[in-house]
Structure formats: structure tokens, C-alpha cells
């Protein structure tokens, strides 16, 4: 019975070690490769730092009109788009407008409930943010592999642009 004892012990060992690992015991396990933070980790240029610095996790629920939050200069204003419900969660975009130009864009809410969403959006959101400042409108390309988020982003972005009157 020797060999079977070895196999049983080996199997139990493997199982115990497997289940000790953090991704093995709950659906929310695993450290995402990069965390979505409120501040745009991408390449929003110019006065991005001033305009969107206070959007850390603040989730204004339904459509809010232009919030007069941190207007550091007389003309920079932020506009929050509608909270768009997508298959994976809510997307909400905030744009900063100064002198009739969109100077920065960022997300207030983006699906981040599971690891896949976090991972996709960690690279998709910065790309979308920088495309907005380049295009200055909502006709931006979707990010491949993040079509659901991109779609929600564009719709929320359009509503923010409408509010800004651009």
C-alpha cells in the first residue's frame, strides 16, 4: 500500500497549498496589476493637475450638472456626464473645460468589480482620456478589448460635452 499512500499524501499536499493561495477562495481575490485611481494616470496635458485632482472616487450618482468644484482659474470648469449603465457596471466621465477647450478628461466611475474589469480599464481609460483631449469631441475610437467600457465612456462623455455647451 506504500505507493498509494504517497499519492494520497501528495494529492492532499497539493490541494492544501492550492487553497491557501488567495485567488482560490473568493471571487474577489487577486491583486490587480494596476489600480484605477481617480487621477488620470495617462497623458492628459496642460492643466490636468488642477482640474481633476478632486475626483478621487467621488461618485455623484445621477446626472449632475456642472459642478463648480475646484475651479482654480476663472474659466476652468468641470462637467460630469451621465452615469451610464453598461453590462459590467457604471461608467461616468468628467471633463474639464477651459476657454472652450476640453483640457482634461477622466472617469469618476468605471467597472472595477472584478479583476478582469480592473485590468482592462487600467489601460483602456488612460487611452480614452488622452483621445478626448486630442479630438476635442466625442468622436473618439473605442479601445479594442474594452468595447463595453468604451461605449459607456463615449456616451457619458457626450452628455458632459452637451452640458458644457461645446
Amino acid at each position: 500500500m506504500r505507493r498509494i499512500t504517497l499519492w494520497v499524501l501528495g494529492t492532499i499536499t497539493t490541494l492544501v497549498l492550492l487553497f491557501s493561495y488567495n485567488t482560490s477562495t473568493s471571487s474577489a481575490g487577486g491583486a490587480p496589476s494596476s489600480v484605477i485611481s481617480g487621477t488620470a494616470s495617462g497623458t492628459s496635458d496642460s492643466s490636468g493637475a488642477s482640474g481633476s485632482s478632486n475626483s478621487d472616487g467621488s461618485s455623484s450618482s445621477s446626472s449632475s450638472s456642472s459642478s463648480s468644484s475646484a475651479a482654480k482659474t476663472s474659466a476652468a470648469k468641470t462637467y460630469d456626464g451621465d452615469s451610464v449603465m453598461t453590462q459590467w457596471g457604471v461608467v461616468q466621465v468628467r471633463i474639464t473645460v477651459k476657454d472652450g477647450r476640453i483640457t482634461a478628461a477622466d472617469v469618476l466611475q468605471v467597472p472595477s468589480e472584478n479583476h478582469r474589469d480592473q485590468e482592462i480599464n487600467s489601460y483602456a481609460v488612460p487611452v480614452l482620456n488622452s483621445e478626448v483631449t486630442n479630438a476635442q469631441n466625442a468622436n473618439i475610437d473605442m479601445v479594442s478589448g474594452a468595447t463595453v467600457t468604451s461605449d459607456g465612456y463615449i456616451r457619458s462623455l457626450q452628455s458632459a460635452i452637451d452640458q458644457a455647451g461645446l
Partner: protein, 476 residues
């Protein structure tokens, strides 16, 4: 060409009493069980495909990454559904077993297993490529990320390893080189593999993340499969064997090549055994008791005793000669579709070769019949292979059935159910000679696999409809 040309000598009958029997009621197998079980299989596959379509699977096919990931998800879903079916096929669920036969289920298990494995490999490759195409991390980075960061994925990798082990050892060449017991123990890792692969489906799989109902349903379906295994493979056999002791009451040689063992016990009254079925027997007599052997019941069950007759073909069956009365017995069963419940015509042909005649002798005893309804054709290579011939002769005489003995070694190089001295006939001609109206019979076959194939082909050629031919394979 007369019957006398085919008949050979019969061994002298030993002075052995016949087993007294009380006829039991015939339990028919409803034909809709087959349709229902096939519909269940189809429904499971349909459900996962609908989950995929509903989750946007078709729409995602637009981009390269989407195509890879989406088809990867579909292959994963189907592979998982097939794994579930695999577990259910081997769970010894009585309705499936009676509808298809243990051997039919085992052959299906083999096909489904290799299909599921291929789809699983496809799933792994497609998902990895799809995720890599959509992420800046590159292929290796994606692989590492998949394994260490996603919920349940490390478990899934271990589950994959277990399933690879199972499949590799089940390929015919590999399996032939392993002892049966070793192969079987490795095969049990398939349960682990299926179980370890389940969490990642529900915690990382998109179709389940987006639908709580699907998640609950999938856990539920897997729980049902696990429950079926526990109930029908473990619980019921233990209950049947242990509620009242079943012990060996008589061991008797049957010629030089076979042994008849009779077991008795109060618990036998509750076993729904029918004549011609088989059990998996474990005789608790020292070493080797963990190994179960399938032997057919060779006399009609009477509620108090069960009698099996087995030929000395391997270690297990040779050990039967050394069994002592009083030895405790564990049984699993009854299994098999060679019983009166499958009979649907008045006339019956029972054709058996070698030890395959054992379940047919039980059928002869238990089948309700008028004189002339039943014909028994007993085939053997030599007189010592004519097992139970005297009992069959006496039973046939008492019931007005015909008993024909066909003895002689097969002509070499020819796949035939006939002996060499009948080589001038084709299989079908000889069958028609023996049983001119065979096309109106139910045909029950039992013997070595090649012999049964030849006999079945002959019966088909004589016009017997395929669903009136019943056979049971013990090697698969």
C-alpha cells in the same frame, strides 16, 4: 445440412441439484428513458451555448482579440458541460444505466471524454491568445498574469494537470501498459480535475459573472452531479450490502474451467435483480478484496440467493475456486440490459459463447414462455467450454425450448461465429438453418466481443431489426 452436423458432444452431467426458483415479475425498461436522457444531454449543451450567445458572444467576434476570447469562452463552456456529462455517465444512475447499458455508457464516456479534453485545450489556447492580444503585456506576461492574479485560476491550472494525467493514461496504448487498478486510481483524479476547474468558471468566466442566476444554476448542476455519484456509486451499494450480511453459501466447480458461487442473505430480497443481469462483486476474503469483478447471475434470482458462474480468466476469477462458505460479500448492482424486461417479442433466441451462456441460462429459466418460443444456441470451442450445458438441457426439456450445441474451434483467419467444420456456410446461412424464423425473434447475445459482433452481423443479415438484438460487452 442438418442440425446434427453442427452439434457436438456434451459433457456428462454431474449429479448436481437444480436451483429451485420462484418466478419474479418482469420489470420492463420504458423506451422513453433513452429519449429523456439524450434530451437531457442536449439541454445541457444548449444551455451553455445560449449563455454564450446571451452574453454577447456573437457580437464579440468582430476583432481579433474578441474572436479569440469569445470562441475561447464557448469552447470552455462546452468542455465544462461535457465534463459534467462525464461525471453523470459514470455515476451509475439507474435510469441511464437501464436505458443504455453499462457498456454503452462506457463507450459514450470515452468519446465524450476525449472531446471534452480537446475543447478544453482549445479553450486554454484561445483565451490566452485573446487576452494577450488585448493587453500590452505580451504572451508570457499574459500567461503569468492569468495564472497568478485571476480568481480561481491557480486551481484551474491544477485541475487541468489532473485532467491531462487522466486523458494521457486513457489513450489505448497507455492504458494497455498499466495495471487496471493503477489506471483506475489515476482515473479518479478526473473528479478532482472537474471540481478544481469549477471555481474559475464562476469567478472569472464572463457569462457567469454577469448573471447570478447562471452562477447559482451552474453550482447547482455540479452539486447534483456530485450528489448522484455519492448516492448511486457509494451510498446505494453500501446500503444494499451492509443492511444485512450477504455471505457465500456454496462454491462448486463447473467443469474444469468455471466455478459457480451461490450467495445468500436476508438483504438479497431487496435487490431488484432480474435474470441475466450482472453485479460487481467484492469477496472480503483477504488480499485483493478492494477489486470488484463483474459476473453475471446464472440462475433466476429467487429473493433468497444469487448464483453466479464465472470462467477462470484472470487472477480474480481463479481465486473463486478458493472461496470458502461464510465469506462476506459486497455487491454493486444490478446492472445490465440482458434481462426479461427488454424482451418485446414472443419468440426469443438466446445465443451464447463460452461463459457468455451463464446469463442466458438465467434468462431461459425466468422468461415467461410457451413451448417452442425459446431457442438456445450454445457455442464453445471444446467440450470443456460448454458450461452449464446439462442445466440448460434440463431446463429446455422442462419448458419445451430448443437447445442446440455448436462445438468446435473457429476456422482461423475468418471472423465468424461458426466452428471450422461449418466453414462452408456463411454466418447468416447457418443461423437460418438453425432458426428459420429468426427474423421474428428477439435475439440475446453474450460472449467474446468479436464473436458477438459476428453473431450480430449474421442476425442483421437474416432480417432481425437492430433494436431487437440485445448484447452486453464486458470488455471496453
Amino acid at each position: 445440412m442438418t442440425t446434427a452436423d453442427l452439434a457436438g458432444r456434451m459433457p456428462a452431467p454431474p449429479a448436481s441439484p437444480q436451483v429451485a426458483t420462484v418466478p419474479r415479475s418482469v420489470r420492463r425498461v420504458p423506451t422513453w428513458w433513452r429519449d429523456a436522457s439524450a434530451a437531457l444531454l442536449w439541454a445541457v449543451l444548449l444551455y451553455v451555448t445560449a449563455l454564450w450567445v446571451g452574453g454577447g458572444g456573437l457580437g464579440d467576434l468582430g476583432s481579433v482579440a474578441g474572436l479569440l476570447t469569445s470562441t475561447g469562452r464557448l469552447t470552455g463552456l462546452i468542455a465544462s458541460a461535457l465534463l459534467l456529462v462525464q461525471v453523470l455517465l459514470m455515476a451509475r444512475v439507474p435510469w441511464f444505466e437501464q436505458a443504455w447499458g453499462q457498456d454503452g455508457l462506457a463507450r459514450l464516456h470515452r468519446t465524450v471524454g476525449f472531446t471534452s479534453f480537446t475543447l478544453m485545450v482549445g479553450h486554454i489556447v484561445l483565451i490566452t491568445l485573446g487576452y494577450a492580444a488585448a493587453s500590452p503585456a505580451g504572451l508570457w506576461g499574459t500567461v503569468v498574469d492569468l495564472v497568478v492574479s485571476y480568481p480561481g485560476m491557480l486551481l484551474a491550472v491544477a485541475g487541468t494537470a489532473a485532467l491531462v494525467m487522466v486523458v494521457v493514461t486513457s489513450v489505448k496504448k497507455a492504458r494497455a501498459r498499466l495495471r487496471y487498478e493503477s489506471w483506475h486510481l489515476i482515473h479518479l483524479y478526473a473528479y478532482l480535475g472537474a471540481g478544481l476547474a469549477l471555481p474559475h468558471q464562476l469567478w472569472t468566466g464572463q457569462e457567469f459573472l454577469s448573471s447570478p442566476f447562471a452562477t447559482v444554476f451552474w453550482w447547482g448542476v455540479y452539486a447534483v452531479a456530485a450528489g448522484a455519484v455519492l448516492v448511486f456509486r457509494v451510498g446505494v451499494p453500501l446500503w444494499r450490502s451492509l443492511r444485512a450480511p450477504i455471505v457465500v453459501s456454496d462454491v462448486r466447480p463447473e467443469g474444469s474451467d468455471a466455478t459457480t458461487v451461490t450467495v445468500s442473505g436476508a438483504g438479497l430480497a431487496h435487490l431488484p435483480a432480474q435474470a441475466g443481469q450482472f453485479f460487481i462483486w467484492r469477496f472480503l476474503s483477504g488480499s485483493g478484496w478492494t477489486r470488484g469483478h463483474p459476473y453475471s447471475v446464472s440462475a433466476a434470482p429467487d429473493g433468497r440467493t444469487l448464483r453466479l458462474t464465472a470462467a477462470h480468466l484472470g487472477d480474480g476469477s481463479a481465486a473463486l475456486t478458493r472461496l470458502r462458505p461464510g465469506t462476506r460479500v459486497l455487491v454493486e448492482g444490478p446492472f445490465g440490459r440482458l434481462h426479461p424486461g427488454l424482451r418485446s417479442r414472443r419468440r426469443v433466441l438466446l445465443m451464447g459463447a463460452g461463459i457468455g451462456i451463464a446469463p442466458l441460462r438465467a434468462l431461459l429459466e425466468a422468461l415467461p414462455q410457451q413451448p417452442g418460443d425459446v431457442t438456445v444456441v450454445q457455442r464453445a470451442g471444446s467440450p470443456s467450454g460448454l458450461v452449464l450445458a446439462h442445466e440448460i438441457r434440463d431446463l429446455a426439456a422442462a419448458r419445451g425450448a430448443r437447445h442446440v450445441v455448436v462445438e468446435g474451434h473457429r476456422a482461423p483467419g475468418r471472423d465468424s461465429w461458426l466452428p471450422a467444420q461449418a466453414a462452408h456456410l456463411t454466418d447468416a446461412q447457418a443461423l437460418l438453418e438453425l432458426v428459420p424464423d429468426v427474423r421474428d425473434h428477439d435475439v440475446f447475445l453474450c460472449g467474446a466481443p468479436d464473436w458477438m459482433d459476428a453473431a450480430r452481423a449474421a442476425a442483421l443479415e437474416c432480417g432481425v431489426p437492430a433494436d431487437h438484438i440485445h448484447l452486453e460487452r464486458f470488455a471496453y
